[in-house]
């Protein structure tokens, strides 16, 4: 079973990365543009004449807008890091690492802005439901 799984994995990754034109991080040869070179600086709608990786030649708008270098398609999407997360399995790692507090559901505090009005809206919704349940107009 493992043999087949490995075989399918290898085939799939091969297809995804190599067989398709833009698969993975395969670098395409830099195209030589003879005519006037369109620039992504001049216009965001400018497109190169020959198909190439648009991220290769652009410094202005790069994936760094959102991601650190090498983060667009890492070899492992969930590659474990040594960074620290409160309550996680690596809690006792190096204390100098950045610490991320995991977001959890919290109980709403009654001091929240407009809590009374929110409670009133909820009560009104409850009254409407109760009214429709008891009277059942049209049913």
């Amino acid at each position: 079973m493992r043999k087949y799984t490995l075989f399918i994995t290898v085939i799939f990754i091969f297809i995804a990365q190599n067989a398709m034109a833009h698969g993975g991080h395969k670098k395409e040869p830099t195209s030589v543009v003879v005519a006037e070179e369109p620039s992504s600086i001049d216009s965001m709608y400018a497109t190169p004449e020959e198909e190439s990786d648009p991220l290769e030649n652009s410094d202005l708008f790069s994936p760094k807008d959102l991601f650190m270098e090498g983060e667009i398609a890492p070899a492992e999407p969930n590659k474990k890091t040594d960074m620290k997360m409160e309550g996680s399995h690596n809690e006792h790692d190096d204390p100098n690492m950045p610490k991320v507090v995991s977001a959890k559901h919290k109980t709403v505090e009654t001091s929240a802005k407009g809590y009374g009005i929110a409670a009133g809206i909820t009560l009104f919704a409850g009254l409407v439901f109760a009214g429709l349940t008891f009277i059942r107009p049209g049913e």
Partner: protein, 337 residues
């Protein structure tokens, strides 16, 4: 006076056209799950329009704008809670609706197309859920998007439109926001319209164990029932929003992988733990499986006791998903490619 006004409105608005007959069993919870889902969707649209007034779809400011809404804007926390919990309730009622349709074999001839439309709606709803998760732009959002982009990259030219490389200079978060508030809702509204049209065209399915035709009621009576069900859904959403605040983290630390996805996606987190390319292959396999159901299942029976194989598949599907969700919730990431 009131009756006269009602008559004028009925004449002008053509309300009498809604007086057509439908089976009496439509006024039950299990046959109103679709209507309840639609109620949640309505709440999502209205609360989403209000939320959009405060959201800044810029990677630098998105997370702060959500924090500002929650902490500073009057009732902002409640509005976000309503939007969040409406999404949660919608997920539950939508899944229950699909299970009911499968259980009662309502996808069979002549309703195959409506099953396919329903699966399409489900896929887009899940996409809306995903894009909504990303918009808050905290650690969980960043990691979700990183996974998504990894999949898009692996899809080669098919995934290119989903990456930042497709529209240089436009932050991906902007495009996700556009998809979340306009493109996907428009598509899903059109599909819901089609779904309702085909329910009307083919009529609501009969009870699977019925021996004689069901007693009919006018559709307006079902609308009254749905109004009550919808108000119950709204009450539930309001109660949840009033008591439990949805998670919201700080701005993401890039390059870090520490969070888990929401429960709707945690099953794929578990699968990924077993085999990383599951991220790519699992969704299309599941969607393909769901789409194939009315084509593969040619058994004419509707009653569940006479469909043992189909029911076994349904139970197996539910158990596998439940197990994956539980496992994904308790496990830590240990995989390697």
């Amino acid at each position: 006076m009131a009756n006269g006004l009602t008559k004028i409105l009925e004449d002008r608005l053509g309300i009498h056209l809604l007086e057509y007959d439908i089976p009496e069993h439509s006024n039950s919870i299990k046959y109103s799950l679709g209507g309840m889902t639609l109620s949640s969707f309505g709440v999502l649209v209205i609360s989403g329009i209000l939320l959009a007034q405060f959201f800044i779809p810029d990677p630098e400011r998105a997370n702060r704008s959500v924090h500002y809404l929650v902490d500073q804007v009057y009732l902002g926390w409640y509005l976000r809670g309503i939007h969040f919990w409406a999404g949660e309730v919608l997920t539950v009622t939508m899944i229950l609706h699909a299970i009911r349709v499968f259980f009662t074999a309502s996808y069979k001839n002549p309703r195959e197309i409506n099953w396919l439309i329903g699966i399409g709606i489900m896929v887009i709803m899940v996409t809306l859920l995903f894009t909504g998760t990303v918009l808050k732009w905290d650690q969980e959002a960043y990691e979700a998007l990183a996974h998504f982009l990894w999949v898009a990259e692996k899809m080669g030219p098919f995934g290119l439109p989903l990456t930042e490389a497709f529209a240089q200079g436009v932050p991906l978060l902007n495009r996700i926001y556009m998809a979340h508030i306009s493109l996907l809702p428009i598509i899903v509204i059109v599909m819901i319209g089609l779904h309702l049209f085909y329910i009307k065209y083919h009529k609501l399915s009969q009870l699977p164990d019925a021996t004689k035709p069901a007693k009919n009621i006018p559709f307006t009576q079902h609308m009254a029932y749905l109004r009550r069900a919808g108000s119950g859904i709204l009450l539930l959403i309001c109660l949840l929003a009033l008591t439990i605040a949805p998670p919201l983290g700080e701005e993401p630390v890039l390059g870090l992988e520490v969070t888990k996805p929401p429960w709707q996606f945690v099953w794929i987190y578990a699968l990924e733990n077993v085999w990383v390319p599951s991220l790519i292959v699992a969704p299309p396999i599941i969607i393909g499986f769901l789409l194939a159901i009315p084509i593969v299942d040619q058994n004419k029976e509707h009653y569940w006791k006479r469909r043992p194989l189909a029911i076994a598949v349904l139970v197996g599907f539910i158990l596998i998903f439940a197990a994956l969700i539980i496992w994904g919730s308790v496990t830590t990431m240990t995989h390697s490619m």
